[in-house]
């Protein structure tokens, strides 16, 4: 990679360009459209992989920063940068999108599907890479539009209801966040005389009164909490996940939920350290409630896809716990768990989609005995499911373990309660697996087709990553740790919070 190549800008622009190209192609040839789509998404993936190799593992700050003045009179720039927190989320985005484009069956208007997917990828990349509050907000809002069309256009029966609910929920959050962003910027200008939307400048040089900072943090947090989603604003999620087409669910669970947790790290903790410390107990409690509540509701579900959706509420609760636990290990685990959840829940949604394609039902009661007729399918499902449960040796374990250790040191009782969630996760997922795959295959289940080569090709990279990250997560943690340490140092410098010595150790060896 030469210095002059604006790799981060390309990561945003190439998918967007791909969306435009696909939109201009004639609509008839489905293979060509998917091919073009996957080429553009593949280029983005290649760039993301190159980014990981070029990334200086021991540097905690922002790398590959590219900055160009965009709207001079507002102090807005096109500023992109990557650090250990966003690096692997960018990579995850790069991995999941090509799979979501070619993976699932698209039953109508392939052209529209591919074009919206690519635009969505550009938006997600933009959110993870933007270091300018204005650019961040633009991309944050932009991702709503393609997802709105994907759910509404390619979803299942109650798709219109689900997509409107999704759009309006998220927009309420964004509405408050925009006012918060503007308030941060103008209060900074009135204090320092510099009008800028640059996150780094704002975080380093602002001096907000603590009550003001708390309000502003809540304005941001409203938006992030809805996106994550944190109990009690999670109610859009089961509907959106269930009604979305397979590819949409994969991206929604795999990438878009991470926008919220990423937002908490990059903007919540970074811009308002004191407020985040003050309000941490609130979010820890909500996160813990989410873990238990999501798990309990998941146990009750009759619909396999809805079950996976509620399991996301529980898993995201862990990430919130790690974030607001404010310990080195907990934060490292939280960042890693974002990637893990993207892989395992993304893979689960792929598999549920495959089941639906075969059986045209997602009801657990109508499935059964699939293990006998489709052993490979069952095997893949089991690996992915166990990763989601958090079985040692697979990726889910590493993240959850680090989160619980870290949080135990700083906020013991929340960690104790949250640990129960791990057990509940085993309960609902194993029970679901048992009902769907064990027993005798009767009726339509007896002719359940085995996994095709194409489906194996889709699942292979996900399963491989699940195993690799479970067995040897060290290279990833090595890159996450310095940035997390910088973030915690920043919080300590700008608030009265001091990390207990026991929590400061990292997973680095």
């Amino acid at each position: 990679m030469s210095e002059s190549l604006p790799i981060l800008t390309l990561l945003v622009v190439i998918p967007a360009l791909g969306a435009a190209v696909v939109a201009l192609l004639p609509g008839g040839n489905e293979r060509l459209l998917k091919l073009v789509g996957v080429v553009f998404a593949g280029v983005a993936l290649a760039l993301a992989v190159a980014l990981i190799f070029d990334y200086q593992a021991d540097g905690g700050g922002f790398q590959f920063v590219s900055e160009h003045v965009w709207i001079r009179s507002f102090g807005i720039s096109w500023k992109l940068g990557v650090d250990g927190i966003s690096l692997f989320l960018v990579a995850l985005t790069g991995v999941l999108f090509p799979l979501a484009i070619i993976g699932p069956e698209v039953h109508r208007d392939v052209k529209g599907y591919v074009a919206w997917m690519l635009l969505l990828e550009a938006g997600c990349m933009g959110v993870f890479l933007s270091l300018d509050l204005f650019g961040f907000f633009l991309f944050w809002e932009l991702v709503l539009v393609p997802m709105y069309f994907l759910i509404g256009g390619w979803g299942y029966d109650r798709r219109i209801y689900a997509t409107l609910k999704f759009f309006l929920y998220t927009m309420v959050g964004s509405a408050l966040m925009l006012v918060g962003i503007l308030a941060v910027v103008f209060l900074h200008q009135q204090a320092t005389g510099v009008l800028t939307f640059d996150v780094v400048t704002l975080a380093e040089t602002q001096s907000l009164a603590s009550s003001t900072a708390r309000w502003l943090f809540l304005a941001f947090a409203a938006s992030f909490a809805i996106k994550v989603p944190i109990f009690p604003v999670h109610t859009w999620l089961p509907d959106a996940h269930t009604e979305a087409p397979t590819g949409g669910s994969v991206i929604l669970a795999g990438i878009m939920l991470k926008l919220g947790t990423y937002g908490f790290l990059r903007f919540g903790l970074y811009l308002f350290p004191q407020a985040a410390v003050d309000l941490a107990p609130v979010f820890l409690t909500l996160g813990t409630i989410g873990i238990i509540y999501g798990a309990v509701v998941a146990i009750m579900q009759k619909d396999l896809k809805r079950l996976v959706a509620y399991s996301s509420v529980a898993h995201l609760g862990f990430i919130v716990l790690g974030t607001f636990g404010l310990s080195q290990q907990g934060l490292e685990g939280g960042v890693l768990q974002m990637v893990n959840h993207g892989l395992s829940t993304g893979a689960l949604f792929f598999l549920v989609g495959m089941i639906y394609e075969r059986r045209h039902t997602r009801l657990i009661a109508e499935l059964g005995g699939i293990q006998r007729v489709a052993p490979v399918f069952a095997g893949v499902f089991m690996v992915v499911m166990l990763s989601s449960v958090g079985l040692p040796g697979l990726n889910g374990f590493v993240g959850e373990f680090l989160i619980l250790i870290g949080t135990f040191v700083t906020h013991r009782w929340w960690a104790v309660v949250a640990t129960a969630g791990v057990i509940l996760a085993a309960l609902y997922l194993l029970w679901a697996y048992q009902r769907v795959f064990h027993g005798q295959a009767e009726g339509a289940n007896a002719s359940f087709p085995e996994m095709t080569m194409r489906e194996r090709a889709i699942m292979a990279p996900l399963v491989a990553l699940i195993v690799v990250l479970g067995v040897y997560p060290q290279p990833v943690l090595d890159r996450i740790a310095p940035s997390v340490r910088e973030l915690i140092t920043h919080v300590e410098e700008h608030s009265d919070y001091r990390q207990p010595a026991a929590a400061a150790g990292t997973a680095e060896r």
């Binding site: 965009w70 709207i71 001079r72 009179s73 507002f74 907000f137 633009l138 991309f139 809002e141 932009l142 709503l144 539009v145 709105y148 069309f149 509404g152 256009g153 029966d157 109650r158 798709r159 219109i160 209801y161 409107l164 759009f167 309006l168 927009m171 309420v172 964004s174 509405a175 408050l176 925009l178 006012v179 503007l182 308030a183 910027v185 103008f186």
Partner: protein
């Protein structure tokens, strides 16, 4: 006796500064004469092209004056005994209104042909009303503002009723005329009270008077109130919005587009100049009233738009809520606020004309298929048109990378800068409500090919049965819309208009700096 009368001192007229109005009025006169000689198809096309050319010429002329007043850098020029002020602000509005003329003319061509209406006098009225609007933007005297207001309005009354064979069009004209005259009377009364309190109708004199004297008593406040009522009517701010849905729905659709853009711009030009510039020192008196008007407009406009099933009415309510957003800029009463309002109005002009252009095309012959049902499956039949309309709707909803987002961003940032957090939050929440009905229309266009719609299907068919929510304007648009739908025809001129609107909406969304600079440098002469 006769010899003792003093000669009247006629002020010098700086014609060069009045060039845009002169071009518009001259063009109107020329077309009026030419229209009496030929009334065939070629004449209709020629009249359309001529109108666009006149609008462009007026813009070019004002561009010349832009340099003359120092590129907007505060070098305002007063003319005709201080009754006219030419500053960057006035030129900005001249450009906005002339844009509306050009786009409106392009839009009208296909419509007039399709409805077999006489063409040239339509364009004459458009240009005349535009000259009134431009005059309002330049007026430095309350009397002259009133003059401009009447020139603008009277031509619009006629335009609203231009489709004489349609009952709704005639009804809209009468309604607009009666209520409009009423509001003009309010405005005039406001002028009188202001004169009574300050001793002049000249804005410069008023500003100086208010800066040096303390005015007590209710006369001046009464003046504020009545002026606000009169102009609030023109810009369709709640609670002076009652006419808007009926008139927007009944008027010929191209007229609605032009009216929504030009009349609102002219009204805001006067409103901003009078309150921010002349009454600037009395800010604390009028700010709360403007705050209330703004919030009411945003909330009422958005909420009532949600329950509309006729797209024209829906856009009418949405234009009411847009008025509320523009008022945020005035309420903030800082330079960013005024620039934000200007940016908003320019962006809105393209958005609203583009939207009504689509409505006019979808309404087809007879101009009555404006129910939600008429848009069902538009994405399949006319993907380009549906895409453009989607962009306009998303931009109005404030989705990023469109001019509409930046417009909202601009005014809300001004409010936050002025620490009016409450109005900023209300504005953002109202935009969420507004997003709902824009999205609903998009749902109908893209996702409603089958009847498996959860929220929209039953609602719209119920609406078709109810025909026009009970105020007697809609006549069975549901019945027509459910008939076998033929592919809509898109006239070339309208397609050009939509293309221009689309280019601006996306262009100003991606690279807004030039537009922002234009709005920022369009300084309002502080008196």
């Amino acid at each position: 006796m006769m010899a003792q009368l003093e000669p009247i001192n006629l002020p010098d007229v700086e014609w060069s500064l009045l060039a845009p109005e002169m071009i518009l009025i001259g063009g109107a006169m020329a077309l009026l004469v030419a229209g009496t000689f030929r009334r065939d198809r070629t004449m209709a096309a020629a009249a359309c092209i001529f109108t666009v050319a006149v609008a462009v010429a007026a813009m070019v002329a004002s561009w010349g004056i832009w340099a003359d007043v120092g590129g907007g850098a505060g070098g305002a020029r007063l003319a005709i005994a201080d009754a006219v002020v030419v500053d960057g602000f006035a030129i900005f509005f001249t450009v906005v209104i002339c844009t509306a003329v050009a786009l409106g003319a392009l839009l009208a061509h296909g419509y007039l042909k399709q409805e077999r209406l006489e063409a040239s006098s339509f364009y004459v009225l458009v240009m005349l009303s535009a000259s009134g609007g431009v005059l309002m933007a330049k007026a430095n005297d309350l009397i002259l503002i009133f003059l401009g207001l009447e020139i603008l309005s009277i031509a619009l009354y006629v335009l609203a009723g231009y489709h004489q064979r349609r009952e709704q069009s005639r009804e809209a004209a009468i309604k607009y005329f009666v209520l409009g005259s009423f509001s003009s009377a309010f405005f005039l009364y406001g002028v009188a009270l202001t004169y009574g309190a300050t001793g002049s109708t000249n804005l410069g004199f008023i500003a100086e008077f208010l800066a040096t004297q303390t005015v007590t008593g209710g006369v001046l406040l009464g003046g504020f109130a009545f002026l606000l009522v009169g102009l609030g009517f023109k810009v369709a701010a709640v609670p002076f919005h009652m006419w808007t849905p009926d008139v927007y729905q009944g008027s010929p659709t191209p007229v609605t587009g032009f009216m929504a853009a030009a009349a609102k711009a002219a009204g805001f030009a006067a409103l901003l100049r009078i309150f921010y510039s002349a009454f600037g020192t009395e800010q604390l008196d009028w700010q709360p009233i403007v705050w209330a008007l703004s919030v009411l407009s945003m909330v009422v406009g958005s909420v009532l738009a949600v329950v509309q099933t006729d797209v024209k009415r829906m856009l009418a309510y949405s234009s009411i809520s847009h008025a509320g957003y523009v008022l945020i800029g005035l309420q903030a009463a800082n330079d960013r606020g005024i620039a934000g309002s200007l940016f908003y109005l320019l962006a809105y002009t393209f958005l609203i004309v583009g939207s009504f252009a689509t409505v006019a095309i979808v309404a087809r012959k007879g101009d009555d298929r404006t129910g939600l049902d008429a848009y069902r499956g538009l994405a399949r039949d006319r993907p380009g048109l549906a895409f453009a309309f989607t962009v306009f709707l998303l931009a109005q909803a404030g989705v990023p990378f469109t001019s509409g987002f930046l417009a909202k961003f601009y005014v809300i940032s001004a409010a936050v800068e002025a620490r009016s957090y409450a109005i900023a939050v209300i504005a953002m929440l109202a935009s969420v409500v507004a997003a709902f009905f824009y999205l609903r229309l998009i749902v109908v266009m893209y996702m409603a090919e089958d009847q498996a719609m959860a929220g929209v299907g039953p609602e719209t068919s119920a609406a078709a049965a109810a025909t026009g929510d009970g105020d007697g304007t809609g006549t069975g648009d549901g019945g027509v819309a459910t008939a076998v739908v033929t592919r809509v025809e898109i006239p070339v001129a309208a397609a050009i208009a939509i293309g221009l609107c689309l280019a601006f909406t996306v262009g100003a969304g991606l690279l807004p700096q030039p537009v922002i600079d234009f709005a920022r440098h369009a300084t309002l002469l502080r008196l």
